[in-house]
Symmetry: C2
């Protein structure tokens, strides 16, 4: 009962806590999906359903778990119907063909839309990031690079400078150098950042509260079979796309990768709602969403194969081989669309293309493994701090001022970031520079080596030259940038704005090894590739935070094109995972799922305790007996009373209360619908009509009221286990078959019931966690 | 009963048919495992088990299916025991740590051994292939390339020619040119090939009959939970390694990739037998084997990530995320070991490194898709022809002369192959040449373009030059080579020697497009890359034959290093799969599994028929009632009679024959062991002792014989479904949980039983196939 009371008293607060959305009541008016969510989660208000035709079985209430087996079985029924119809006429045959191909069509559409959106986001972010510093006079919608690219007055050496591009100080007070110009630029930089951030957080609060955060924890939960209405809606799609551009441009320490997965999943949800095959089946819809997640990663990194693996390893729950092929196709189309829009200015799919192909040496494996250890430690630290901060936000007054929080963090970020050239620019530009080796034409400070005019081969042998003062400055700045990014990211991830984690994590690379190893070099041999260390460090940090391995390595090498470096990347990723796992098994996404109390049954958790089904099932010893329906002895009124007095999601149906032989299982929701429907149609069903779940109700005496036959809504194949079944088997069955509940029997007699929530609470209890933290069923 | 009779009458013939091993009786003496296989598959002879200590539950008979849930539950028990013990003393704690790390240790060992073996095989094949043509005078164990590499007299232009390397004709009759020298070389080439092939087939026949064939269909079956003793034994490992070198060197049209997977799995089996965690648990052992398969592909192609995906997509059945990480590690170590041995002479992992990075154009997608269509058609054709030929071999007299068959095919191959330079050399050399673009220094005929001395940039713009006569000759030869390879591969794959399919399939590329597209080229632009077409064509053909998609693309681009060509490769692979699937759903490996009648429940097959559990379960209508045990009313003699009269693998235990309430399930094998054991120990158990499956047997009158308590061997949590459960759900449960059997109940009463064989036979029947083709349980 607690849940319902909570919902009636403080429904929006409840929603906000669980989903980190803002707490105002305005959301109800701006997001129609929320209204539904509120009403349906309560106990009584079911007005919406009266309009539906009766046997509309198979829809679920919001914040509830789906039954995978039932969904699958419904899809097979549908498929059978279409196949048998297709033999009747040519039109039906064409329809069946269309139905068979609709999966691929949906994938094509998702790929096209996700690729287009990613391209648009990339272009907009480029433009708005540069807008903080200046404007292009020839066309204000050009970014710095495009502006100078189109200008004829640009020379190759000074690609960054052209008269058309003017800093704000040049434009406003006609000064490009000097203290006052610097301060003006500084001030405008902060102002723009604050504008962007304020706009973003307001849009999220007013129009689409679900658009905040990374989205990956919720998508994982949804894919595991949970319903969150509106989380992947059209409003969320629109607002998330716009605000993503704003927050990335505002210079906050966050990436666009997680949000792009969310955006792609919204696309997937939108297109799947166009085809009844997917819109009416929650299981099939999740197959589409898995593929959409792959497309999202594919466009985020330009890594189609990595995207498929990411979806497989990290996000998806039920991933049949068919979905593998479709994800592959969606990721391909998305990457291809992005390539056609071509935001990176070259024809390669690769985001940070590295040009070096120097081999690495066996001895270097040791620093690579060391980087893995650092990455693992950093991952642990980050998860702990971030979760502590988010918990504090949830439980203290802090959570009540989301806008203020965003503004403050943006202001701090902008104030600290501007003076340091490595933090001022966008993170992806920085990574691109760090990954690259120094060439002769490189103008970056990092490559400021002293050119010895006596040397014959100045271009090839850069590492031999002594480092110039620029390198040491760069070192300091990078070290400061590293510390700053580490601290600020902990506070940024989890705010009420779209936020991604990949790119910031990649930044936390360890450039110190660079100095150490420089001493090892034999003169004349280019022995150490600094860019490689940055790459491996980035992989290690990401591995520590997310605990990915295979998909991470594939993404990294699709990202950089460095096929030779699989072994170093693998070594760092595996080490990082080991080290981080030693301190705590949860990755950042699982940690956020637990923080929010979602019913997520992780495939990676192992259950090794020696409990039996009888220890977990309800009713426990001393509790009231299980609420059951009998197949032929209860009246409509009895059933209605049972429904009113309990809040279970369904009731087992038995032969009689004495024999306790199980016949089937009836869903609460369908019982309510069926009784309401029967009473409305007024076909003689009254309160003392007898409810029959049997196949052939017996002949009744002539005066007795018309019986209510409910065999249609009875699930005749409920899942049962014996009371002696070990819980590890039960957990396995719940995981693999995606059950919602399971009945417990002993020698043919019904004893009790185990729901997914019971399983999760038992697992939490066994791991010495608070079982009450699992809030949904 | 038919099975047993068949086994007693013609047991070895039966085994040979099913496993494509030779048919002589000699195998019994050379392979001790075969003896077991024979005896245990029959009905009575169980002498072997008497020596085992009694509760040795959890071993399986040969050619039987394992119960995944039971294996998992046993492993959890083991784990719990070790964890609780580890708190007792430091020694136990160290032991528990060792146990936890043993998985990674096994992976390391597998990687090392598989990498070493692959390196040795590569070197040996190089040497023996060249031995067919000539010998190195300075050191006879050098291959042609090594011989001239070590020679000082080699110039860069004529890398192939050096005085140390002599053709046989030069050595024997001192002639290097002319007709007689050609004939002598031709003759010796054939002679060597025949020697190698004869040696290989004899070794396989005498020492390890399981070492023949690709091995992948059997490994798929084993990984799905089937027991074939000796298939992954030490003898098989040794003989397969040796014969693989022989057959590849003999020039037969087969590759070493499938066999390398088999070799790696043998390594996996060997190392897992060293650790009790894996040797005593068939489920855990299969996790190791999955990872070993990944290591096998990793060394076959130098593609660690592709190997993991191959194991996931194609080979493995139960692939938890933990196995993903371990496979990844094993594949990494194996690839790294191979790189250290360095058989390809460069520091890259890549087998056929392509050097071109020219972009491709949108318009080219059309020919790529066309290549996909060709690949799909070729795949269908190949599978149909190959299966027809193999079936003919199994059912006609042809199968009785395996040695003769190998000799004839080898002779034909050698005779036809020698005159054509493209078929004479080893297949991997040929592929390497085809994949590569022409450079200025290339001496190959394919690159025989006329150098126009007036052109300013002769090196870069090869496609602009008119083709020389060599190109046209090369075209003809390649076309002939293509036809020859297609035909001969159909007959070669499936012979009684180790044989792989990958490399031959890759050959079947379609070079004709090359000519067509040359006309499209604008002068001055290098528009078409012939090597790319070869690569895409190879991917399409492999895709058509094996029906892989994601793993194929990853393997192809790890193989060639061509990261830019993901999109063309994906397009071709997906098209090829679609086209091939339109003609038949089975890939070559599934087709061979079906041909052999293994009980393989493919995860890719969808079951969409509207049958219920009650239609499939035994006993059918009209059959004798189900053989059950009662919990407290049967004597030892009753049980023994039941065991003798039936050949079921287990019996349900019920409360009483009247109530039919299910208590549990007892395995046949464990019943026999328990009764034998009790009678031997002579603790008062006689024929009319009562067998109790209850927890507390009642007090017996003083004179009655001592009761036999068997609750220990009773499985108290047998899997049950109701009779109304749709078969699609039952199939899903069997697949996902890896069940061996499932009991069927109706309102708490036991009705019947469904075994994996019943499910498979039902599926075959529904697909209009012969249900009797499934021979094992």
């Amino acid at each position: 009962q607690k849940k319902v009371v909570l919902l009636h008293l403080g429904h929006y607060t409840f929603l906000c806590w669980s989903l980190r959305v803002c707490q105002t009541l305005k959301v109800v008016f701006s997001n129609p999906n929320m209204v539904n969510a509120g009403e349906m989660n309560g106990s009584g208000n079911l007005m919406d359903f009266l309009d539906e035709p009766f046997p509309d079985v198979g829809t679920y209430e919001d914040f509830h778990t789906i039954d995978w087996l039932r969904e699958k079985s419904r899809d097979t029924d549908r498929h059978r119907k279409i196949t048998s119809k297709s033999k009747e006429s040519i039109w039906e045959f064409i329809k069946s063909l269309l139905d068979a191909w609709s999966g691929w069509v949906v994938m094509l559409l998702i790929g096209l839309l996700a690729g287009t959106l990613a391209g648009v986001i990339d272009l907009a972010v480029d433009w708005m990031t540069d807008l903080k510093e200046g404007v292009c006079l020839s066309a204000f919608w050009y970014s710095h690079e495009q502006c100078c690219w189109t200008s004829n007055e640009t020379t190759f050496d000074d690609r960054d400078k052209c008269p058309q591009w003017q800093k704000w100080s040049e434009l406003l007070v006609n000064q490009s150098e000097g203290a006052s110009a610097y301060i003006l630029n500084y001030f405008l930089y902060i102002l723009w950042a604050l504008c962007f951030a304020f706009l973003a957080v307001s849009l999220v609060r007013v129009f689409a509260p679900y658009a905040c955060g990374s989205g990956i924890p919720e998508i994982k939960t949804i894919l595991s079979g949970f319903i969150i209405r509106g989380y992947l809606g059209k409003w969320t799609l629109l607002i998330k796309t716009v605000t993503l551009v704003l927050v990335v441009s505002s210079g906050l320490s966050l990436g666009k990768e997680g949000p792009l997965v969310h955006v792609a999943c919204c696309c997937g949800n939108f297109f799947s709602s166009l085809f009844s095959k997917y819109s009416k089946n929650e299981g099939k819809r999740r197959e589409v969403l898995s593929a959409a997640a792959a497309a999202g990663v594919s466009v985020a990194f330009g890594a189609p194969i990595g995207g498929v693996l990411f979806s497989l390893e990290e996000v998806s729950y039920y991933f049949p081989l068919k979905t593998l092929w479709r994800s592959f196709f969606a990721a391909l189309v998305a990457a291809f669309t992005l390539r056609s829009i071509n935001p990176f200015g070259n024809s390669r799919l690769v985001l940070f293309y590295v040009e070096y192909h120097t081999p690495w040496y066996m001895a270097e494996l040791f620093p690579f493994i060391l980087l893995g250890v650092f990455g693992g430690l950093w991952g642990t630290l980050f998860i702990r701090c971030n979760i502590a901060w988010c918990r504090r936000r949830k439980t203290t007054r802090l959570g009540k001022y989301p806008v203020l929080e965003v503004i403050v963090i943006t202001a701090i970020t902008a104030i600290i970031a501007y003076p340091n050239p490595y933090t001022r620019r966008s993170t992806s530009e920085l990574i691109s520079e760090l990954f690259n080796d120094c060439g002769a034409l490189e103008s970056s400070q990092l490559c400021d080596y002293i050119n010895d005019p006596n040397m014959t081969r100045p271009v090839d042998d850069i590492p031999d030259r002594p480092a110039g003062p620029g390198v040491y400055t760069a070192m300091w700045q990078l070290a400061l940038a590293l510390v700053f990014k580490i601290v600020i990211t902990i506070f940024t991830f989890g705010m009420k704005i779209p936020s991604g984690l990949f790119i910031p994590s990649m930044l936390a690379y360890h450039h110190h090894d660079w100095i150490i190893f420089r001493n090892w070099c034999r003169p004349g041999a280019d022995c150490v590739t600094p860019g490689l260390y940055a790459m491996v460090g980035a992989a290690a940090c990401l591995g520590g935070v997310t605990r990915m391995t295979v998909s991470l390595v594939v993404i990294m090498f699709e990202l950089t094109g460095g096929l030779e470096y699989i072994v170093p990347l693998m070594a760092a990723a595996v080490t990082s995972k080991w080290v981080a796992d030693a301190f705590g098994k949860e990755g950042i996404y699982e940690a956020h799922i637990h923080l929010n109390g979602y019913p997520f049954l992780d495939v990676k958790d192992e259950f090794t305790h020696r409990t039996l089904a009888t220890d977990v099932m309800r009713p426990r010893r001393g509790e009231a007996p299980l609420s059951v329906l009998t197949q032929d002895s209860m009246t409509v009124e009895d059933v209605e009373t049972l429904i009113k007095e309990t809040d279970y999601n369904g009731f087992p149906v038995v032969v009689s209360k004495d024999s306790e032989r199980l016949i089937g299982f009836a869903q609460r929701r369908e019982l309510i619908l069926a009784i309401k429907n029967a009473r409305q149609r007024q076909d003689g069903v009254v309160s003392n009509s007898i409810v029959y779940f049997t196949e052939d109700p017996p002949e009744l005496p002539p005066n007795s009221p018309h019986p209510l036959k409910l065999r249609r809504i009875l699930n005749l194949s409920p899942f049962t286990v014996t009371d002696h079944t070990p819980m590890e088997t039960v957990v396995d069955i719940f995981r693999k078959l995606g059950l919602r509940q399971c009945l417990v029997t002993r020698s043919g007699r019904l004893l009790g019931i185990i729901t997914k929530k019971d399983v999760l609470r038992h697992m939490a209890q066994m791991a010495n966690q608070d079982p009450e933290s699992i809030m949904f069923n």
